[in-house]
């Protein structure tokens, strides 16, 4: 078979990669083999541009049970036999084409990663990015994605408890849809996605296989271009109803009949190909599959299509052969189709046949060993000047304008209340949600235990645009801060590395810098990277997206009944921890205030990781001593917005008019320096003394009460501020 450029283009393989394959096989590949290799060597499955950077990630730590890359998701040990598994994954490109189904199937895919490990999914979070909502197309994508997440998550009965969304022009036409799922269960029920035990059958369960999303994996590994419309692969339509049955059947299998099976694996990108090959690779075995045994939804499917179909809601079960009938009966009882499609072999080969005819036969090792391209980055030429800009040269905010500035900021698309979104998500099903969406992190309790798990997703692409290393570290710090604000100890993180085309030197530089910053922060804050995903080639006609490595941090609280929210009680003192009120103009770098007032960003964000860790530890220590009634992290919109949000949650005003705002009013109110918390306390004296003893800056800013929001020169009615904040998104989305 002579392979032309078009055939290579279809499987997103370069000529040198093809030459490499010829060397490895020592012969020409068959059509099916070429398709399988193309999919597994794609960026989406093989991480050929990002894997060389993964070595920087800290991967071990106190809580880590299953490290990144070992299984479908990482696992942490919560103590007393409890385990949490979690992972975040992107579904950006499908969501750009069909927002509802793209987002819905993104949720479905991440859930399968979790229950493939035998753990029950207990929470979903979503990290979303869109272009400005002033644009009708962005609003359509936004609505579609939110509906799709709800449509799938609500139907399967897993609560969507948190997440975040940010708008920026670079995401116009290339939205980011990153879904994160958390599963919890008993350690003894953890499953492996391994094809162990020579002679054991391979059982495909769930949906019939159709011609869905063939080349989805390779499609996600190239840029969306003007021509994308013409080459649209069939976007998958998800079936959350079937997913729910699969989830129940698989969890029950893990919980009650683990001795029946050797492995459980989901089918995701590159379908049966990656699923079976990865399972064999993990176990050091081979697989022999007969595509004629795969139940089809469409007629006349070729072996190539069957092996690469990305039909949703399918799982691969590897039962022990003596329990095959038990396993088939188990799925029948759940009214799910299950068929034997092959066997585990001892030859470390992936053998695919169509009835009597062998259509592919390759070493598993070749398939799972994609070429790797260490990024060759070049620092963007204009970055030095941008970072060096003197923000103090800009005129300061006039004190008489401060109230109006706050009201404007509260209504912006990046700060306004997310209620429009989360009220469309069932965030309570399963009866575990202790801290609901709308605060910092979400917190769910573990039944039959006192423990709880907190989770937050964060990333501010604007900070990364100014300095990817600091910005990525800030994303980790913020996610940890949010978890700490609920009273939980950050334990580990997952990431979804969203970048532009890695073949562009400036994007490659952003990637490497961001991963170094992420790794440094994860190391200092003791949150190892236990799972993740990379989504590259996120480019629209105007250029790449802001570098956006979304971070999901999961933390542990031993007593969920002691979870903190952001709502203090009337009469509590609100204390700023981690910094003085006064801040230099440089802390406006990349801030929402800078962006909305100037329409551009400049300056250099700063983060001291050791200080960050000390402040976080102090908050947990103070809460351990019973000194805190509420805690809130300072991020978008700075001190003023954080304080306003606490007042909205408390449904009470505050008098913080007597603060030392220093020389830059705008920076004191709206600067976005990291490592800061606002906490509520009914014992301010003791808290301030404790902070002084620990060398943590602490300032009592005011007492909660009344119906006005007073902060320095700001003096607005709580009701007016709350209206701007709570109706901001509704107003923007009122227009079709």
């Amino acid at each position: 078979m002579s392979v032309d450029d078009l055939a290579l283009q279809q499987v997103a393989m370069t000529r040198p990669e093809y030459e490499r394959l010829l060397d490895l096989l020592d012969r020409e590949p068959t059509e099916v083999e070429l398709g399988m290799v193309g999919a597994l060597w794609s960026e989406h499955c093989g991480y050929k541009h990002s894997r060389p950077l993964f070595k920087h990630f800290p991967s071990t730590g106190e809580y880590v049970l299953t490290k990144a890359g070992e299984e479908n998701a990482g696992a942490i040990d919560l103590g007393d036999g409890w385990v949490a598994v979690f992972k975040m994954e992107s579904h950006n490109h499908p969501s750009a084409l069909e927002p509802y189904e793209g987002a819905a199937t993104g949720v479905g895919g991440i859930l399968r990663d979790i229950f493939a490990m035998g753990m029950r999914p207990v929470a979903l979070l979503d990290s979303l990015r869109f272009g400005p909502l002033s644009d009708q197309r962005n609003r359509r994508l936004f609505r579609g994605v939110v509906e799709g997440i709800g449509g799938y998550g609500n139907c399967v009965g897993v609560p969507t408890v948190g997440g975040e969304v940010q708008m920026h022009p670079s995401y116009s036409g290339n939205p980011l849809v990153n879904a994160m799922a958390i599963g919890i269960g008993r350690r003894e029920h953890l499953l492996s996605a391994s094809a162990r035990g020579v002679g054991n059958p391979l059982v495909l369960v769930g949906a019939d296989t159709g011609v869905d999303g063939i080349h989805g994996a390779t499609f996600a590994s190239v840029e969306l271009s003007e021509g994308s419309d013409a080459h649209r692969p069939a976007v998958q339509v998800g079936n959350p109803f079937l997913e729910k049955l699969l989830m129940e059947a698989c969890c029950e299998l893990a919980e009650q009949h683990k001795d029946w099976i050797e492995g459980l694996q989901d089918l995701g990108a590159a379908g049966l190909t990656s699923s079976a090959v990865e399972a064999a690779s993990r176990a050091g075995t081979g697989i022999d599959i007969d595509v004629a045994l795969v139940p089809r939804r469409a007629q006349h499917m070729t072996p190539y299509q069957v092996m690469l179909s990305e039909s949703q809601e399918r799982m691969l079960v590897i039962p022990k052969k003596e329990h095959l009938e038990d396993v088939l009966a188990h799925f029948r009882r759940w009214e799910i189709r299950a068929d034997v499609i092959g066997t585990v072999t001892d030859d470390q080969m992936a053998t695919i046949r169509d009835g009597d005819q062998v259509v592919a036969r390759m070493p598993v090792g070749v398939l799972v060993d994609p070429p790797q391209y260490p990024p060759e980055g070049v620092r963007p030429a204009d970055l030095d000047a941008l970072q060096a800009e003197d923000l103090a040269a800009q005129p300061d905010l006039d004190p008489s304008e401060a109230g109006a500035a706050l009201l404007r900021l509260l209504a912006t698309e990046n700060i306004a209340s997310r209620r429009w979104i989360y009220r469309q998500f069932d965030h309570q099903v399963q009866n575990n949600t202790v801290v609901r969406p709308g605060g910092d992190a979400a917190l769910i309790r573990i039944k039959d235990s006192t423990k709880g798990v907190a989770a937050s997703t964060d990333c501010n692409g604007r900070m990364l645009a100014l300095d990817p290393r600091t910005g990525a570290a800030m994303a980790v710090a913020e996610a940890c801060r949010n978890v700490v604000a609920t009273g939980a100890q950050p334990a580990a993180l997952t990431d979804c590395l969203n970048f532009g085309n890695p073949e562009k030197p400036e994007v490659a530089w952003q990637m490497e810098e961001a991963i170094l910053g992420l790794s440094a922060a994860a190391r200092v804050l003791e949150t190892p990277v236990i799972s993740g995903n990379a989504s590259l080639y996120n480019e629209a006609p105007d250029g790449p997206i802001l570098p956006t490595p979304s971070i999901g941090v999961v933390g542990l609280i031993e007593d969920a009944s002691r979870a903190l929210t952001i709502a203090p009680a009337a009469g509590d003192t609100v204390v700023l921890l981690g910094a003085q009120v006064a801040q230099p103009a440089s802390t406006l770098a990349g801030s929402e205030y800078q962006w909305t007032t100037q329409g551009r960003i400049a300056g250099m964000p700063r983060l001291d990781l050791d200080h960050e860790l000390r402040v976080q530890r102090f908050v947990l220590d103070a809460h351990g001593r019973g000194l805190l009634t509420a805690a809130h992290d300072l991020s978008d919109g700075g001190l003023a917005v954080a304080l306003a949000e606490m007042c909205f949650a408390a449904d009470a005003g505050i008098d913080a008019s007597d603060i030392a705002e220093g020389e830059r009013l705008d920076a004191a109110l709206f600067g976005e320096a990291p490592s800061r918390f606002l906490v509520g306390t009914s014992n301010a004296r003791v808290l301030l003394d404790l902070a002084a003893g620990h060398g943590i800056p602490a300032v009592a800013v005011g007492v909660v009460g009344g119906d006005r929001l007073r902060l320095g020169p700001i003096d607005v009615a709580l009701e007016d501020a709350a209206r701007e904040w709570s109706e901001g998104l509704d107003r923007m989305l009122a227009e079709i």
């Binding site: 084409l97 069909e98 189904e101 949906a207 159709g210 011609v211 869905d212 649209r232 069939a234 976007v235 998958q236 339509v237 998800g238 079936n239 109803f241 079937l242 939804r297 469409a298 039909s311 949703q312």
Partner: protein, 88 residues
């Protein structure tokens, strides 16, 4: 200007998965309708529109389908336009 009524049918494209159709098919089977081999579920949308002529009305409806009523990534549409008495 005359008034036209368009009956628009939006269906998932033939090879696209239709979970709703599958569940309805199984539901019909369990009620004893054994002869049912396939079910596809779509949407019917009726649009009343003012236009100068049938071709103009058709062009407008086609545009509506392409821009809003159907997503060509997963859906096909078809429609029929007839002139009706004007309604206020």
């Amino acid at each position: 200007m005359a008034t036209y009524l368009a009956h628009v049918n939006v269906m998932l494209r033939p090879l696209i998965n239709d979970p709703q159709g599958l569940v309805v098919r199984d539901g019909l089977h369990s009620l004893g309708f054994e002869g049912v081999s396939a079910v596809r579920v779509g949407k019917r949308i009726d649009i009343t529109v003012a236009a100068a002529s049938v071709p103009e009305a058709e062009a407008a409806v086609r545009d509506m389908c392409a821009k809003l009523l159907a997503n060509p990534v997963i859906e096909d549409f078809e429609f029929e336009v007839t002139e009706v008495a004007a309604v206020d």
